[in-house]
């Protein structure tokens, strides 16, 4: 098992199982949050096919930029690139440039199992062990012409195959006001902002 952030502990039943493929719907902070726990614990993280990754947000979520490799454009030979990286990095975040064939998927899954890493895919990947997506989201701190984006309350749902088949859902701060990812208590679902509200007096 690779460690994950405490906020994702329950959703992922303890951690990321080595040799597994995890899918997050579209690219976003959720993919970075998945990798953050392992990266903070010393794992190297390669990011393939995502030139638009926000490194500052990644650092805020807990990834160590000193242990990141970015391959913005892996080109048509991307499966070879991913296989090479799995040899050295325990985590590979991937957005496939094209839709992989079933045969290619099976070959890469075998590579993941052989090296004991975890492949986090942004996009579709049939046969992934775990799937995470944001079901509902709501930004707080911003109004009609005032305030600013402070934090996002998001309901993250995890489902998958086998033991993970029963969907689980949790409310998370994704991100919280300081960029970190923490559990948003259901009880605090009231709209009370957690900072003093400043109103115009003019």
């Amino acid at each position: 098992m690779l460690p994950v952030l405490p906020a994702l502990h329950e959703l992922l039943a303890g951690g990321l199982r080595r040799g597994s493929v995890v899918v997050t719907g579209s690219w976003g902070l959720l993919g970075l949050a998945l990798a953050a726990g392992a990266s903070a614990a010393g794992a190297w993280c390669a990011v393939v096919g995502l030139p638009q990754i926000g490194v500052a947000a990644a650092a805020g979520a807990g990834l160590d930029p000193g242990r990141m490799l970015l391959i913005a454009d892996p080109g048509p030979g991307w499966p070879q690139v991913v296989a090479s990286l799995l040899d050295g990095c325990e985590l590979v975040l991937l957005r496939p440039p094209d839709r992989p064939s079933a045969q290619l998927r099976r070959r890469l899954e075998a590579t993941v199992r052989r090296f004991g890493g975890v492949l986090v895919v942004a996009g579709d990947w049939d046969g992934a062990q775990t799937r995470l997506f944001v079901a509902h989201q709501e930004w707080v701190g911003i109004g009609a012409g005032h305030g600013r984006l402070r934090a996002r309350r998001a309901q993250v749902v995890a489902d998958g195959r086998g033991a993970a088949a029963r969907p689980r859902a949790r409310w998370l701060w994704l991100p919280g006001p300081d960029g970190s990812v923490t559990i948003a208590d259901d009880a605090s679902a009231s709209r009370e902002p957690f900072w003093p509200e400043i109103r115009s007096t003019g």
Binding site: L29, Q52, G54, V55, A56, A57, G66, G145, P177
Partner: protein, 488 residues
């Protein structure tokens, strides 16, 4: 302490001003040009190389003639270079970098007025034998290349190398430690450390044959790393370290390709493999008719010869700072670089700056670099946390309208014409051409670098939240809306 054997030998340095960092491939052409005239060229770093001047100068009839010939040869390849000749590597490097008033070298040295001579069009600076200390004396202590001393010495009133050299060697060593003792030797025009009197009797070179011959450079680079580890183990067993390493590659047609590499500080196994890769790709660039990644005829032997051996005085790794790159990660990154090219695998460095795209500097794996914009400064007006998770390398053009469908504009006094109501961005993931805006904030005007007309920039930031819950960072610049980042 100074004896005859301690005196540095004559060194000629070729320096190309403003050479792009890490462009080792193009520099290969300069090295080849110099090598056509004198053997055993030592590459100091991409942009500078050195040769021992005594033998070639005798052959070409003097150091002036040699310098002029080298400058001509490099100019034939279309590169501008400067040449300096002096006692020792340090003085020769400074001579090469010395300013040339009017393109002709006239360097008045320490009152003697004879050390720097006017030179032919090649504009070489030649410091006469024995005049190195006088030539060095007026230079600032920052030219020693030691940041700590460059900070400390001026605060003690020691501003030039001459002042520093006036201290006794024992005092310099007492006050500034081993680094200070080395710097003091440099300031006095001596080589940084006494040379090892004679080469050790044992052959410390290591080699690996390739059978069948290898045509790709990638396996050679792999082998080079293991080979370098073997070489280092052999050196360590004798308490030695090498300052230079000679990389020899022998091809099937008997052609032998040799290059000397220097690394400031001591070479690591990875650093040696990196230089082998540069060397191979450099030859491929020169040998343009060969297919990419293929050596003519294939490589049959790789040999590493440690050169210029010194006593290993130990090398302490920093307790904090450098993230240690383990071998598996380095191997994986090197393999991908062999597939896609050197610049395709990058490591991010957090930098300063105001907008999210500026806050990251990307450095190719294996290179060392500093952030383009220094972090740790206040950067007033920078985007507050949380940072956006998606930062578009090229901002997406967008359209933002108010309720009536008219484009929203921002006046010169940072007043918004009407509340933004709808957003359209050319995003393939968002099928809806128009999204209703549920909440928004802004504009935050940012005027950057107004003191520099070429890069001045005036814009206003907005944060927009659309009906589907997505949040965007948008800017208005010259009336045009751009989506810079997404908070998803």
């Amino acid at each position: 302490m100074t004896s005859v054997s301690d005196a540095p030998c004559r060194v000629l340095v070729v320096w190309c001003p403003d050479w792009p960092d890490q462009d080792a491939r193009a520099f290969e052409q300069v090295v080849t040009a110099v090598e056509g005239l004198c053997p055993r060229v030592e590459v100091l770093y991409p942009g500078a190389c050195a040769v021992g001047a005594r033998g070639p100068a005798r052959y070409f009839g003097g150091e002036e003639a040699l310098a002029a010939r080298i400058a001509d040869a490099v100019a034939c390849h279309g590169f501008a270079c400067r040449v300096g000749v002096a006692d020792g590597m340090f003085a020769a490097q400074l001579a090469a970098r010395a300013p040339r008033p009017g393109g002709v070298a006239r360097v008045a040295v320490g009152g003697t007025g004879r050390a720097g001579r006017p030179e032919a069009p090649g504009a070489a600076v030649i410091v006469a034998p024995g005049e190195a200390p006088a030539f060095l004396a007026p230079h600032s202590v920052s030219s020693l290349g030691n940041q700590e001393l460059a900070d400390l010495l001026p605060r003690l009133g020691i501003r030039t190398l001459g002042d520093f050299a006036a201290l006794s060697a024992a005092e310099a060593a007492n006050r500034f430690g081993a680094q200070g003792a080395l710097a003091h030797r440099l300031a006095r025009g001596l080589d940084p450390r006494p040379l090892v009197p004679r080469p050790p009797s044992a052959d410390l070179s290591v080699s690996t044959p390739f059978d069948p011959p290898v045509e790709q450079s990638e396996p050679v680079v792999f082998a080079a790393k293991a080979l370098a580890e073997r070489m280092h183990a052999g050196l360590a067993a004798r308490g030695l370290a090498c300052v230079r390493v000679q990389v020899q590659v022998i091809c099937t047609d008997g052609q032998e390709l040799t290059r000397l590499w220097r690394h400031d500080g001591l070479l690591s196994a990875l650093a040696v493999a990196e230089r082998v890769r540069w060397q191979l790709s450099g030859w491929q660039a020169v040998d343009s008719d060969a297919d990419e990644g293929v050596q003519a005829g294939g490589i049959t032997l790789l040999r590493l010869v440690p050169d210029q051996l010194v006593r290993n005085t130990g090398h302490q790794l920093g307790l904090w700072g450098d993230a240690v790159i383990n071998d598996r990660v380095a191997r994986a990154a090197l393999r991908v670089q062999a597939l896609l090219g050197h610049g395709s695998v990058v490591r991010p460095l957090l930098a300063g700056g105001r907008n999210p795209a500026e806050q990251v500097t990307l450095v190719p794996f294996g290179d060392a670099a500093d952030p383009e914009l220094p972090s740790g400064r206040p950067w007033p007006g920078r985007l507050p946390a949380p940072a956006p998770a998606t930062v578009f390398p090229v901002p997406l053009p967008a359209r933002v309208t108010d309720e009536s469908g008219a484009a929203v504009t921002v006046s010169g006094r940072a007043l918004v014409s009407a509340p933004p109501a709808r957003l359209s961005a050319g995003l393939p993931a968002h099928g809806e051409p128009w999204l209703a805006i549920t909440s928004w904030a802004g504009p935050w005007p940012v005027t950057e670098r107004w003191w520099r007309p070429a890069s001045t920039r005036r814009r206003a930031w907005f944060q927009l939240v659309a009906e589907d819950g997505s949040a965007w960072l948008a800017t208005v610049q010259d009336g045009q809306w751009l989506i810079e980042a997404s908070y998803d």
